[in-house]
């Protein structure tokens, strides 16, 4: 009963928030329509609002963060779920990774400013000088860039990936491992051909949920990404994300710009909800599938 009440309350609250955003966004939605999504100019002074570069920046930074964090997160999850290391050391690693989730976003932002930005400036310039002919690596290497934001985001989503991947690896029934060994498989053959494929849906879900987290991540990204709405191929150039755009512009916005930002917020909510629902759906299906193996 209490459970039902709580869920009704949550749904009402969600509907209320979405409704409020849409209400505030309505002037911009009716004025700019879909042109808002396809437009590449964002200049509040001329009342021109297009978020395509920001959408691209959101997708690119989240994707890049995932690309960096997934292999690392999966490797950590594997070492936490297998017994290559003594239990005490595994416990420490697990604790440290969980701790990453507890660090406030703004602290990641500060760390990014003091540590990652100088590194990206220094090595980015070297790379751009040598490999600048590749559009992704073209200079100049600004410190505030898509790459900087993605590197920090990767660290921020690592706990999500590790925790969910680990639990899906642990959930693989021992009987499958035993079956594989009995057929003459080695430890690594068993891990690569049986354990990881069996846990794969959970690992995919961890990636989707991490992607959702990265998309919505605000403070650290706003501090690091450079807040530029100019389209650029280079990872070393400043970019922007929906959440960083909102955080950076809302305080000084008025008139139609507020409404345009609300429109952007509505898109952000739509995207993160969609991604999270997809992730949860995959996770549910995984749990059902492995339940069938017991």
């Amino acid at each position: 009963m209490a459970c039902l009440l709580a869920s009704v309350l949550t749904i009402t609250l969600l509907a209320f928030i979405v409704g409020e955003i849409l209400f505030k966004a309505w002037p911009a939605i009716s004025k700019f329509g879909l042109g808002f999504i396809t437009g590449i100019q964002w200049s509040p002074n001329r009342e021109v609002f297009g978020v395509l570069p920001v959408l691209i920046g959101t997708a690119a930074s989240s994707f890049l963060a995932l690309l960096l964090a997934l292999p690392l997160g999966l490797a950590i999850a594997l070492f936490l779920s297998e017994d290559f290391l003594p239990p005490a050391i595994r416990q420490i690693i697990r604790f440290v990774v969980e701790l990453l989730a507890a660090i406030p976003s703004v602290v990641y932002g500060l760390w990014g400013i003091f540590v990652v930005i100088p590194l990206v400036q220094k090595y980015g310039a070297l790379v751009a000088a040598k490999l600048g002919f590749i559009p992704f690596l073209a200079g100049p290497a600004y410190g505030n860039s898509l790459l900087t934001a993605s590197l920090v985001l990767a660290l921020m989503v690592l706990p999500t990936i590790t925790a969910i991947s680990r639990s899906s690896l642990v959930a693989v029934p021992y009987a499958l491992r035993e079956g594989s060994y009995a057929l003459g498989a080695t430890r690594w053959e068993t891990i690569l051909s049986v354990i990881i494929p069996t846990a794969a849906p959970g690992i995919v879900a961890s990636g989707i949920l991490a992607f959702g987290r990265a998309m919505g991540e605000t403070m650290a990204v706003a501090m690091l990404i450079g807040n530029s709405q100019r389209l650029s191929w280079s990872l070393l150039s400043p970019s922007n994300t929906l959440s960083a755009l909102l955080a950076n512009q809302f305080a000084e916005a008025d008139g139609i710009q507020v409404s345009a930002l609300m429109y952007a917020a509505a898109l952000l909510v739509l995207l993160t909800l969609g991604v999270n629902i997809a992730g949860e759906a995959v996770l549910r299906r995984t749990q059902k599938a492995t339940a069938g193996l017991r």
Partner: protein, 270 residues
Amino acid sequence: MTTEASQHPLELTNDFAPGESNFIKVDNFKFFYGKKEALHGINLEIPSRKVTAFIGPSGCGKSTLLRNFNRMNELIPGVHHEGDITIHGTSIYDPSVEIIALRRRIGMVFQKSNPFPMSIFENIVYPLRIAGQNTRSVLEETVERCLRSAALWDEVKDRLHDSALGLSGGQMQRLCIARAVASRPEILLMDEPCSALDPIATAKVEELIIELKKDFTIVIVTHNMQQASRVSELTAFFYLGNLVEFDNTRKIFTNPSMKQTEEYITGRFG
């Protein structure tokens, strides 16, 4: 892979004589889980191409002995053994014996079927793939051969690429038998293979066991006395980590020499 394996001391296919009386020889074998001694000096000779049943009350060490034949028990931390087990004259603990090769020569079927969450086809060719065999025609041949010998071919031949998890419990267990014979082992170990199956599926697996003994040396652990008497030629009765009696199945079930055996098979304990 085949050529490599045939130089191996445990590759027995070529020179192995059917009806060899001491094909698997257990020699004063003791097994310890940590400090706990689970088997107290077992001596046993298992003939080739026959079905040998292990019976006895729960916890008497049947699975422990069975799981030593392919050294599966070594996966458990803190175990050790004394004495020896030889197969066709070669100690399975000989330093030249590779555990991987040993397990490939010995198929194992578990109490609870454990198909991998892949297609029926991929389940069966799994042992071939890990041995580096990826030739389409070889894989297809193997799948048909194994499914036929597990009496499953007709039921699944039209859905080989469907998930194995869509099969019934009995079909899954027969799939696991098919998978266990894919690498052409000489020995098939079965630990209560029917205990999770209904009577019809059980009857099918029993028929299969009788069929398979033409090609394999089978050792089966069972709690079902009727099953032991139906499928096996020889029966070993274990009690508290000791081998109490080992003889022809008919003798064990009609005229056992030991009083404990008689009490067990007539259901007075265990």
